[in-house]
Each structure stands twice: as structure tokens, then as C-alpha cells.
Symmetry: C2
Subunit: 271 residues, 2 copies
């Protein structure tokens, strides 16, 4: 049955969609059957990316691997009780349906609190949470005491995940693997970045996530978006001669995404 990977972070612009589409293309190019559920009905970054991909494949006659893509419309709400029965059913039915024709299903959630996003969090086998090297982003996980560095409060997104975990234990009995990854990291180290790193390591036990190596800020992670391609599509990029494939940044990007996929420890057969 499909392994469910959810891209989650209530903080906007942390990189959920960007990492989601890079992981998806990496898995597709390994020959896996990938499903994508885009729960961000207004922006639909993932759905649009794969629409551009289909367009590029057709216009340029390229042999590209494509996932099965589905979008569902969440109704944003402020209380869990607002989840409607039909919405729950629609998502569960979709997950069941994709269970058999996909190896991995990637669910992209919006940068907001929605009922369907919560359900996705409670169904996830792996939850990946990207974040910026910033205490503005850190704040949705928890507040650190500026004096002694201990966790003073847990914030709304940590609560969302804790709630989802309880729901999951109740229904599935299996454990959620919560992976936090810093994204858009600067090439240069800074005192701020070391403080964020230190803060994350201190709270990882308490909040229940494991911290993996970060992903750098690289133009190549966004410049291929309109084409529906990523650095992982080496053959297509070669055929199109569309960006500096041999640049150090490009090779480093491929290695970073490969490493991220390995660190997710998805139950996929790898050579």
C-alpha cells in the first residue's frame, strides 16, 4: 500500500510545495508510481507544476514521468468540529483509491490551518516540515527563552501535529515520522542561523521530530517551475539545454535532493 508523505507547515512560504515537487520528481525518476494530492485549492502550486510538466512533455516531445494528480477543496475552519462528513469521506476515499496504484502519495497542504490539512496530518506516515532559518518561522513551533534557551511554550503548529498524532495512534496504532528540514539556507553561516539550529536541536525531543540536513537557497529550485521541470530531470534538461546543468550549484542541488529523499527513509527499494 502507498506510503503517505505529507508536506506540512502552517507558516507560509516555508517551502512545502517546492520540496514536495522536487521529492515527487526524484521518486518518479526512480521509476516509482507517485500520487500527488494538492490540498491548497487556491494556489495549487503542485497541481500547476505538473500541468506545466505535461505541457512541456507535449510541446517538446519529451518522455517525462508524470504522477497521478488530484486536488481537493478544503473548507477553512476554526474548530475541529467544523469538518464535514462529506469532506472527510472525499479525502479518505481518495487515499484508499490511490493506495493501490501508487507507491508513494505526496500531499501538499496550504500555509494555513484547514480541516483537510488536519486529516492529512493524522493519516501521514511521514510528515516533512520545511522552515526558514528564522525565529519568525520557529515561532509556529514554539517559543524559546532568550536567556536559557529552553522551550517556554509550544505553538499552534506543534499542537496541530500533536493532535494529529493522537488521532493517528487512536486509528492506526503506528507512529508518525516527523522530519523537520531547514530550507533556503544561506551559503554563509551566521550567528542567527546557529541560534535557530541550536533551538531546533533542543526542542526536537520534546516536540517529537528529527532534524535532517538543510536545503540551500538556490535559484535552480524555482527557475524551472514554469516548465514543470526540476534539477532531477537530467535527461529532459539535457535535451532542452535549458540551464547550466554542469554548474556547481546544479550538481549540488541534485545531491541535496537525493540526500533529502534518503533521509526521509521512505520504504522504497533503492539500488
Amino acid at each position: 500500500p502507498a506510503h503517505l508523505l505529507v508536506c506540512g507547515n502552517e507558516k507560509g512560504g516555508s517551502g512545502k510545495s517546492t520540496l514536495g515537487l522536487h521529492i515527487a520528481t526524484a521518486l518518479l525518476n526512480k521509476g516509482l508510481r507517485v500520487g500527488v494530492i494538492d490540498l491548497d485549492i487556491r494556489q495549487q502550486t503542485m497541481a500547476r507544476f505538473f500541468a506545466y510538466r505535461a505541457q512541456t512533455a507535449s510541446i517538446k516531445s519529451l518522455d517525462l514521468a508524470h504522477p497521478r494528480v488530484e486536488t481537493l477543496a478544503p473548507v477553512r475552519r476554526d474548530r475541529v468540529s467544523d469538518v464535514t462528513h462529506e469532506e472527510r469521506c472525499a479525502l479518505f476515499r481518495l487515499l484508499l483509491d490511490m493506495r493501490n496504484d501508487c507507491d508513494v502519495v505526496i500531499v501538499d497542504t496550504p500555509g494555513a490551518s484547514t480541516n483537510l490539512s488536519d486529516i492529512a496530518h493524522s493519516q501521514a506516515d511521514t510528515l516533512i516540515t520545511p522552515m526558514n532559518d528564522s525565529f519568525v518561522d520557529f515561532d509556529v513551533l514554539g517559543r524559546i527563552d532568550p536567556v536559557d534557551g529552553t522551550l517556554k511554550n509550544t505553538s499552534q503548529y506543534a499542537h496541530t501535529v500533536r493532535q494529529a498524532r493522537r488521532e493517528r495512534r487512536r486509528l492506526k496504532g503506528t507512529v508518525l515520522d516527523w522530519v523537520v528540514v531547514r530550507n533556503r539556507q544561506s551559503a554563509f553561516s551566521s550567528r542567527n542561523e546557529r541560534k535557530v539550529d541550536d533551538g531546533l536541536r533542543r526542542v526536537s525531543m520534546q516536540l517529537g521530530f528529527r532534524l535532517v540536513d538543510g536545503i540551500a537557497e538556490r535559484v535552480v529550485y524555482r527557475e524551472l517551475f514554469p516548465l514543470g521541470l526540476t534539477v532531477m530531470d537530467a535527461e529532459a534538461l539535457y535535451a532542452l539545454d535549458v540551464c547550466q546543468r554542469s554548474s556547481p550549484s546544479h550538481k549540488a542541488a541534485c545531491r541535496e535532493i537525493d540526500r533529502l529523499v534518503r533521509m526521509l527513509r521512505l520504504p522504497i527499494d533503492d539500488e
Copy 2:
């Protein structure tokens, strides 16, 4: 009466709160009376920043200028008709109340579509929309034809602003000044960044915004967040000796924020 400046962009993580708090502190340090309405009830980045500021002023015995800060809880919705009468009244009453004791009121909106955010957009005198140098961010404004560079479709956030403008003309008869500013710009030019810039210039007439000089990616724009300070708080930073005030990046940051405030052309008396 107070000039209403709204920080808006449905795209998450574009820098609404970051630019909002920097503009607010710049205006406070010019001696203006500043009001802040934080409509992002879950993250409350602006409200927390000024709470940290009050804390720093008290703990370190610093003479810092503070704004009047208010938060209001929006109910997210999918149809305009879902705005409740009480919610509209609460926001209008607050705006009226702040009209007389503030020179500028800054409203921070969440990275999502909410009813109160829409009302704020229709009441704004100036709307500032930051965005990343990225077609992922561009997509919420419109789609560009990859072949001839013309605007193919307008997207959801462009519609939100257009709707707000109609509402405003109907109620106020005055014109909205929509300012778009690229944020988190890399120090290095790239083909991608030139394409985004070109795209923005092409659509600015049609969508009705003016494009101003961008703001660079600088650690100093986020590292002072936990202290409730910004580069514009020169005296406080001197007293605390808390970051490399004389670094080139620090001086460049001050100039960038000063320039941004000038380009907003707020009706404030300046020396």
C-alpha cells in the same frame, strides 16, 4: 485622519509581516503615531514582534517608541457572503477608533484569503505587496505566456485586489495606491530574476500596480525579531551592542527601508 497601509499577498512567506514591522519601526522613529492591526490571528507575527519590543524596552530599560497594537480574528471563508455583520463592524469600529490617535495604521494580513483581509484591502489607501523573485509567487498575480511574455490569465490575488478596488470606489471614491516590491532578492543577478522583473513590468499597467525597488535577502531583517528590534532602532542597537551595526549589510538595510518608506509616498511630513 490616519493613512491606512495594508500589507497584502495571498502567497505565504512573501514578507508581509517582515516589511510591515520594518516600516512601522521606521515611522515610529520619525516620531509618527503608528497603529498596527494584526489580522493573522493564528501566527500574529506583528503582534508578537511588538510584545517582544515592549519586553526588551522593560528588561533593558530602553526608551523605545511603540505603536498601538490590535488583533482581530477573521473567520476564513470561501464566499464573500460569509462575512458576518459583527466582523465587518468590529473592523470598521477599530479603524474609526484608530483614525484619530494614529498618523498611519498598518494592517498585516495572513497568507490566505479571509473576509477581514478583503475588507482591509477595500479600505486601504496604500497596499504593499511583497513577493519573492519567483514564478511560484508570480502565479498568484497572473500567468505569463512563456513564448511571447504577455499576460495570459489573472490569478486569485489580482482578483482580490480588483474586487477590493471596486468596493473602494463604490464607498470612498478615492484611488488605491498598489505598490509591489520584490523581497529577499539575491545579491547576484540571475536570468530567473530578470524574467520575473520583466514579467512584473509588463503586467503592472494591466493589473494596476507600480513596481518599486526591491529589498535584499539580509539576515539582519530577521535576526532581531526575538528582541522586537529592527535595523531602524539605531540607538537601541547601540545601547545593547547586539549586532554588527557598522557592517555594510546593516547600513545598506537602513537605506533600503528608508527608501521603501519614501517610495510608498505616505502623506507624512518629512524633513
